[in-house]
């Protein structure tokens, strides 16, 4: 593309480069801040990208990257014809959308609530507690959830006491409930951690804004609505874009712990399927091809979400 342009309009291109160059020179200090980051990305993120060639090769555990045979799009064909893979796509989207619907606003609400509490020990304690579950690994948490959801576990006890049911049922064996279990337990674990970024942004809000609003007679809810939220909008937008682009991702650890033979039809997500079919079977090509496909779709989702929010916000957050 570059070559073509050059042939067509050689002069103006050289001029433009010159102009660009001189402007670049003026910004030398700024550029000297940005370029190390770009060099870093090229070394640590771009050079290893040749590893994606595994997706187009017949690669095994004893292969080197150059020794494996090229097989073109064969791996992608296998994936696209795999009914189980498509089932896992449906489950991934189902769980992700539930997380988006309920999990996206939870940290925002929680952050606003914490922000509205008077400064003091209570606020600090609540804040600290809320982010603790983030540090529990899914191995431990999963073990707890399994026992709580068993026939005589905590959840069934509560339901029996409340008179909702007569006899305990194992909740985890009920495939239809799995999407809810996966999304709600994830929200519960990460909501507090998710408030940190919002709280940090809120801490940057100029207090005089609130003072002015109060003088104008605005109530607390009104203040939240017209001052707090608009000012954390860039971070909300950023999180939104990343959540949308991450729709095809899911929590591998969580799935591996909570999945059992009976909820598997609803619990198998792309990550866990690729992990089991790919890495546990020593089939690196399959895993790389699937990951590459997911990455491409994710970028498309990112671009769409970015365009959308840009239209709504008149500002780009990327």
């Amino acid at each position: 593309m570059l070559v073509q342009e050059r042939v067509l309009d050689k002069k103006s291109i050289t001029q433009r480069i010159k102009q660009w160059g001189s402007e670049f020179k003026k910004q030398l200090a700024l550029q000297s801040m940005v370029l190390p980051g770009i060099v870093f990305l090229i070394i640590f993120s771009y050079i290893p990208l040749y590893g994606l060639s595994i997706a187009f090769k017949n690669y095994s555990i004893v292969s080197t990257l150059s020794s494996a045979d090229w097989i073109g799009l064969e791996n992608f064909k296998i994936i696209l014809n795999d009914q189980y893979f498509w089932d896992s796509v449906v489950n991934t989207l189902g769980i992700s959308l539930l997380k988006l619907a309920f999990g996206f606003i939870t940290p925002i609400i929680l952050a606003v609530m914490i922000y509205e509490v008077k400064e003091g020990p209570f606020k600090r304690i609540v804040q600290t507690i809320s982010y603790l579950p983030h540090f529990l690994s899914w191995i431990v948490l999963g073990g707890m959830l399994i026992s709580w959801m068993s026939t005589s576990g905590m959840f069934n006890q509560i339901l029996i006491t409340l008179g909702v049911i007569n006899e305990g049922k194992n909740i985890l064996l009920d495939a239809d409930k799995y999407w809810w279990i996966a999304s709600l337990s994830d929200i519960w674990k990460e909501a507090g951690w998710g408030t940190i970024l919002y709280l940090a942004t809120m801490a940057g809000i100029d207090p005089t804004f609130y003072e002015a609003a109060r003088i104008d007679g605005a109530g607390r809810i009104r203040q939240i609505w017209s001052i707090t939220l608009p000012l954390i909008k860039p971070i909300i937008t950023l999180n939104f874009i990343l959540t949308i682009s991450g729709l095809l991702g899911s929590n591998l650890d969580q799935t591996m712990v909570l999945m059992n033979s009976q909820n598997q039809p609803k619990a198998e997500v792309i990550n866990s399927y690729v992990y089991r079919m790919g890495l546990q079977q020593g089939d690196f090509s399959y895993a790389t091809a699937a990951d590459l496909g997911v990455s491409i779709v994710s970028v498309i989702l990112l671009i769409l979400a970015h365009q959308l929010t840009k239209k709504l916000n008149d500002q780009s957050v990327l």
Binding site: M113, L132, F135, I196, T201, A203, G219, R220, F284, L318
Partner: protein, 297 residues
Amino acid sequence: MKPLYSTTKKRLCSGKLFNAVIVVLLIVLSIIIIFPIWNVIVNSLSGAQASASGINIFWTSEFSLENYKAVFRDTSIWRAFIVSVLKTVLGVICHVFFCAMVAYGMSKKTLKGRKLYTTIGVITMFFSGGIIPTYLLIKSLGLLNSFWVYIFPALFSYYDMIILMNFFRQVPESLEESARIDGAGVWRTFLSVILPLSKPVLATIALFHGVYQWNDFMTTKLYITKEALYPLQMKLYEIIVQQQVTSMVNPTSVAITTTSKGIQLATIVVTTLPIIIIYPVLQKHFVTGMMLGSVKG
């Protein structure tokens, strides 16, 4: 925030009901959240019998420190602790400074090549070459079995850069303007105006990266074979997985005094505690508004 709340009694009074509702909600949420964590702590402090029978809910009838003794029996754990602290502290300082520097440059809309840089950066958030080529890269850079493998590859993250960049953009133009009039260059402005004003977001990124550095053991598993460079998480990972070896290979020696579950939980408490303590320390930066120090004071 403090001055605001203390001087605006009216604002708080006007919403007494509002306050009460929030406080009650937060208390309920906190209880829901704290319960499983409490469960972990109680079971880690319990003897085998009580923890196996599942009767430890709020407190244990069989208080015992055996699990913790088992974790701390390995004396090399202290050296691992030092490695962990070193890599976390150094890693956080380098990472936060590096990301902030790039972010400041990127926050300027007039930056030449900004769109290209953005594309380069965003792509890295989605595509990675995978473990094998990365290993080969680390190897060719001579970082295998080197402490710096904890620092260099984790120096920069495009995601953290975006957060910082969006924060820097909210810094009022007027502040930078006045610095420039005082004759400060780009670097001076960045170091003496922007950075001090951005404590909340710097603290956030420090927390994110600190938690990453503290919890990460994949880097060790992949690139480090020297035990002297093992961080705490790797040590404790070994303790957990090697619990399995006993029952796998030598069933006769399964300990009766400690359950493997108990040790696992004690391990989790020991590894998590230091990093959890960091939060209250950083917390004050989240609640001190950035403008208070500059515009007002």
